[in-house]
């Protein structure tokens, strides 16, 4: 059970049950859809980008606890950040969930609760789906992104 507890930490379960920023964003000027064909997880990420800064962000869709909690906590942490900062966070987050984190995790803050994902390689895509979708939205891609 212990590595399951590492994966399904209370913070993650709490976010999956009550996701933050879970709505369509009226003033969004960037938006992208993300899809994980393996399990059918499907999210839309909405961004209100002002200049280089993420003024507001939200998401909607359906997915497992890991993907939903990841999306919820991602919206919290990138709000107010620049594109570059968001991209850097994604890189660090990716290293964390794939077990390649080295050194400083400070910037990830609460996101370190996803460290347990690295013990479950097939779940990495769940944890990163929202981030891939965020990246696509920031790049202004119109087509939906897929984790495959």
């Amino acid at each position: 059970m212990s590595d399951l507890r590492e994966l399904y930490q209370d913070v993650i379960l709490e976010h999956s049950k009550a996701p933050r920023n879970y709505r369509e964003l009226a003033g969004a000027n960037h938006k992208a859809e993300g899809y994980n064909p393996l399990c059918g997880d499907h999210f839309t990420v909405y961004i209100d980008l002002e200049g280089d800064s993420i003024r507001d962000i939200s998401f909607q869709g359906s997915g497992c606890a890991i993907s939903k909690a990841s999306a919820s906590m991602m919206t919290q942490i990138v709000k107010g950040k620049s594109r570059e900062e968001a991209a850097k966070l994604f890189e660090q987050f990716h290293q964390l969930v794939t077990g390649h984190a080295n050194g400083n995790r400070d910037e990830l803050g609460k996101l370190t609760v996803f460290g347990g994902v690295s013990e479950f390689p097939v779940r990495v895509k769940c944890a990163t789906l929202a981030w891939h979708t965020l990246q696509a939205a920031l790049e202004g891609k119109q087509e939906s992104v897929s984790t495959e």
Binding site: R5, G40, D41, S62
Partner: protein
């Protein structure tokens, strides 16, 4: 003959008379499957993903090994000893399949890669010959993608239309809709025998009779039926019937297309190459006879021989006894899962085989799958390559436990216990 005495794959199994589950000794059966003896994450493996692929009995593993150790040669062309012997074994496997399906003629058995390739073969040969602009191909709402996409490709190419027989909330075909869906433009009905996502057994004889009443031939996807229930293609009167070897305890990469002789005779070739020809000049190629005309290139000889061994094994246990055993498991599992208040079953047809798709309220199937895995329990989670079924029930995915001849009631108890662990994690 020494080398070959060991390589003869077809061991003689006495048939067992009693077609009930009562004297089915599942613990003895389990000993035939080496893979089942292992632990996963510190727990005994509980393998409930049989609709994805089945495990292989020792008899199949040994037959394939023996073939490569002492019987390997190319077939249909060598005058030497090993080639003749390999050809004999390959053709013996074809006869085993023929008898298993009760096909009238061994030329009606075409070896392919998989059920999927069987469907594609029919779509690309019979389909391209008979389906034209404005015509219709009729499928059902519970098809696996492998019995949807080949027809979509054909319809797109020919400017034809794909029509769909709907299903009800229990996951049963609305047979009463069938007469009006069979129109003068309907060229083919392609339907599954058993649904991989819902477990529904379709009333094929009734469906085939209705279709034949309108002169519409029927292709049946038997991938989920052949391992679980008796299939008699003459009794069903289906025109084409496909299945995969790996779901019926045989190797991967081998499958079967059954087709009525008259239909196969009239079909153009599928792939060109060696073995499917009688003579080749640059002006004209004469094609080989059935079934070789549809088996271009060196086939999966070891796979076919392994499939023969798998069907011998099933015959040895008796498909009716297997069906009775699995039916007992299905009933036991259905009751056990329904006793968990948060569990909802997807697919509650009156006639079902060996598959339970379920949801736990508030918990995504993918999370169920991960937590059960840590208990050593292998199930499938996702859309099961049947996305239209998921759309029909307005769900993104299900968790699916599917049973085979080696599963036990104790394993279903382990599944239920695992489901309680899932609820604990999410409590």
């Amino acid at each position: 003959m020494n080398a070959l005495a060991n390589s003869m794959p077809q061991e003689f199994y006495p048939p067992m008379a009693d077609a009930t589950a009562a004297n089915y000794r599942v613990e003895e059966v389990r000993r035939d499957f080496p893979i089942l003896q292992q632990q996963v994450h510190g727990h005994p493996l509980v393998y409930l993903d049989n609709a994805a692929t089945s495990q292989k009995p020792r008899a199949v593993i040994d037959t394939v090994s023996r073939y490569y150790e002492s019987g390997n040669a190319n077939i249909h062309r060598g005058v030497h000893f090993l080639s003749e012997h390999a050809t004999e074994e390959h053709e013996a496997a074809r006869r085993t399949v023929q008898h298993f399906l009760n096909a009238a003629d061994k030329r009606e058995i075409i070896f392919v890669r998989s059920a999927t390739e069987g469907v594609n073969l029919v779509a690309q040969t019979w389909g391209r010959t008979h389906v034209g602009a404005g015509d219709e191909v009729l499928i059902s709402a519970m098809e696996h993608h492998s019995n949807i996409v080949p027809w979509q490709i054909l319809c797109e190419e020919k400017d034809a239309h794909l029509r769909v027989i709907p299903i009800n909330d229990r996951g049963e075909l609305l047979i009463e809709e069938l007469p009006k869906l069979l129109t003068p433009r309907t060229k083919l009905l392609a339907v599954t025998h058993v649904s991989n996502a819902l477990g529904t057994i379709n009333p094929l004889r009734q469906i085939v009779a209705l279709a034949h009443g309108r002169n519409v031939p029927v292709l049946v996807d038997g991938a989920q039926a052949v391992p679980h229930i008796r299939v008699d293609v003459q009794e069903l009167d289906s025109d084409f019937y496909v299945f995969s070897g790996h779901k019926v305890y045989g190797p991967t990469g081998i499958g079967v297309l059954y087709g009525k002789l008259a239909l196969l005779e009239a079909m153009p070739p599928y792939q060109g190459g060696g073995d499917m020809i009688r003579s080749v000049t640059f002006d004209k190629t004469l094609y080989n006879d059935l079934p070789y005309r549809f088996e271009a290139g060196t086939p999966n000889i070891g796979g076919a021989i392994g499939l023969g061994a798998a069907l011998d094994y099933v015959n040895h246990l008796g498909i009716d006894r297997i069906a009775a055993h699995e039916h007992d498991l299905l009933r036991y599992a259905t009751e056990a899962l329904l006793a968990v208040p948060e569990v909802r079953l997807i697919g509650t047809a009156a006639e079902k085989a060996a598959v339970i798709s379920f949801l736990i309220e508030g918990i995504h199937p993918h999370d169920i799958g991960t937590i059960l895995d840590r208990e050593g329990i292998a199930i499938r989670t996702g859309h099961h390559c049947a996305q239209p079924v998921m759309q029909r029930f307005r769900i993104p995915a299900t968790a699916r436990a599917s049973f085979a001849l080696y599963n036990t009631r104790a394993e279903i108890d382990a599944l239920v216990e695992g489901i309680h662990k899932v609820k604990e994690v999410f409590a």
